[in-house]
Amino acid sequence: MGPVLAGVLQLTALIGALALAHVPLGTYMAKVYSADRHWRIEKWIYRCVGADPDTQMRWPAYLRGVLAFSAVSVLFLYVLQRLQGMLPLSLGFKAIDPDQAFNTAVSFVTNTNWQSYYGEQAMGHVVQTAGLAVQNFVSAAVGMAVAVALVRGFARSRTGELGNFWADMVRGVTRVLLPGAFAAAIVLVACGVIQNFSGIHEVGQFMGGSQQWNGGAVASQEAVKELGTNGGGYFNANSAHPFENPTPFTNLFEIFLLLVIPFSLTRTFGVMVGSVRQGYAILATMAALWVGFVALMMWTEFAHHGPALQLAGGAMEGKEVRFGVGSSSIFAVSTTLTSTGAVDSFHSSFTGLGGGITLLGMMLGEIAPGGTGSGLYGMLVMAIIAVFIAGLMVGRTPEYLGRKIGTREIKLAACYILVTPALVLVFTAAAMALPTPAHSMTNSGAHGFSEILYAYTSAANNNGSAFAGLNADTHWFNTTLGLAMVLGRFLPMVFVLALAGSLAEQRPVPVTAGTLRTEKPLFTGLLVGAILIITGLTYFPALALGPLAEGLAS
């Protein structure tokens, strides 16, 4: 069997596994967020928090919960890193510098997991396990909570009530992420991912002498890193490191983990709005983009254009032998079309066009299938834009799921889709115009520009992967990328929750002969088109200067 066929079969197996998993998991999550009863441990948590989980919140209250919890999280994680030198179980590692600690705290709370530090030499057991890994759970749970609030906006009418933030966030952790991550972590350990607290220890070598290894709670972090679409590696090499991703099977399993919740949430959506076919239309849109991007990536990576790759006879720079080109291509697309940002191979050394595909994946807004929660709400906002465009074409007030998309709704949706492009383009332009940021580049020419464009695209879209030649541990990059992450995470959430509140207040409009049927393939086609056209118009000039210039030159 050739590597291309093996790659296609791996993609097919992944599609099969996701198809099998998304119905039970999606239906289960719908039950989780609709259940009246609380688990005993949850009641105990609510008592500690001092919140009544049965109080319904309107959108401003829900948003205040999101922002308060996230603000406290940033502060806590910042202080933890600044105090590392004094904490036990920190291997004697020093405190993290203020700018890097700010960047890292923001990065993990916003579900980005951009890393300007090297895990091996910077973060001890306590910061990794009780700081960073905790945010891997709760930042994902916050994203899911906001998505569920938007879904309730469509499902409810004449109320304005969106549920309870504390209940939604806690249930996301206790009923979805924690059991899922525990099971996944055991599978990963069984395949060779390490899980110990042996700190830094000496291990003998074949040619004599010894080398120093980092021990750590890697499997437990790796599992939730993928399942919660986080992506921050325990080690610098992330999921290319054999202790994070030891075998071809773990590689495919990790890709499955990072896709399974975002894809399954379309089912949750369908069940909660009372029409699983609406969920299928969203699922089909996500799946079409994801499969299309994987196909393009495999095509360009197997063709290995570019002087160094042509000379080498294959696109193996920055890739591991056990994964090869096919499996690495699937991982690269899946991690950039979700908000994960974990890598099993290094995007900077992909072909020019391959690097461009990873960039474009993030620029779509990470909605195919996107991050845990953020993918679904991002895609639903795009669906509103698509019905609006369709409404303009036929001269009718647009409707989606029985809700009128009026001035207020379309304004909020438009604000949502303007946030990340504004952040990416303004910060990239500023970094290019200033004299010093360019000193951080490893590569020159078009690819050097791509390194900076990639950094801001990754930060503003909360992805976290990098064209990692860029030395991002500078005051400028730690600060501006940190700002891009905060604004790129929470401004869209403000617009989504306001939109949800506005939708939940409406009285439903009846379906008539003139209603655009949003559960039909025609709408899926329209939605895919709208996404590609809007992203293309926004980013084409930037892409032309970077990856397209590089890719077409070779």
Binding site: G50, A237, H304
Partner: protein
């Protein structure tokens, strides 16, 4: 006092309590539970899949090593591997890739040099390696810098050199490569590969026996 200030403080207090209790759950109990299960049922794997030769630990089957002499099979390049720049009381290995782009002149040079070296090192008196035989993994750096494997093709072109330098028959070394080649998982997942450390341990044992 201002009412909204009190409300904000109350909300932030709730957020902090929620974070602390979830930290205990997901940041303490969860990793300890996973560690408990891992150490009870998969102790070797949870501690890094170390392998021994002659009773001594010589590394991990998962972590590639550098610095093998030409008597042994050579691993992939690791031009992206680094040394620690902070907390220098340790000598840590920083995993990583070169991050050089496909059109980077330095990467082109690295590939050229590696190709020339692979051809020269592996050509023996009666066996000339052609540049077109050299596979891509032999001249590129891996993603982690710790890739434990090489492709079958890269192992094949090293067989004669290793046999000659150790006074072994080519067929014997060929057989070792065959034994240490793993196919794709279930026939289609990942790529076929040869674990360099395990192969070199086998070479050393064979030399000791003959």
């Amino acid at each position: 006092m201002n009412n909204s200030f009190v409300n904000t403080a109350r909300l932030l207090g709730a957020g902090l309590r929620a974070l602390l209790v979830l930290t205990v759950l997901t940041g303490v109990l969860y990793p300890l539970a996973v560690t408990g299960v891992a150490q009870a049922f998969f102790p070797t794997k949870a501690n890094g899949s170390q392998i021994k030769a002659d009773g001594k630990v010589v590394g991990s089957s998962l972590i590639g090593q550098q610095g093998y002499g030409l008597d042994y099979f050579q691993p992939r390049l690791a031009n992206g591997l680094g040394e620690n720049s902070v907390n220098k009381q340790y000598a840590l290995i920083l995993s990583g890739a070169t991050n050089r782009s496909a059109d980077n002149p330095q990467l082109v040079k690295w590939v050229q040099e590696a190709k020339a070296r692979v051809v020269k090192d592996n050509s023996t008196a009666d066996y000339k390696v052609r540049p077109s035989q050299v596979p891509a993994d032999a001249v590129t750096s891996s993603g982690s810098g710790l890739d434990p494997d090489i492709s079958r093709a890269y192992a094949e072109i090293q067989v004669r050199r290793v046999a000659e330098r150790n006074g072994l028959a080519v067929a014997q070394v060929e057989k070792l490569v065959e034994e240490h080649t793993s196919g794709r998982t279930l026939g289609f997942i990942g790529e076929p590969r040869v674990n360099v450390l395990e192969l070199n341990i086998a070479v050393r044992e064979l030399v000791a026996r003959t």
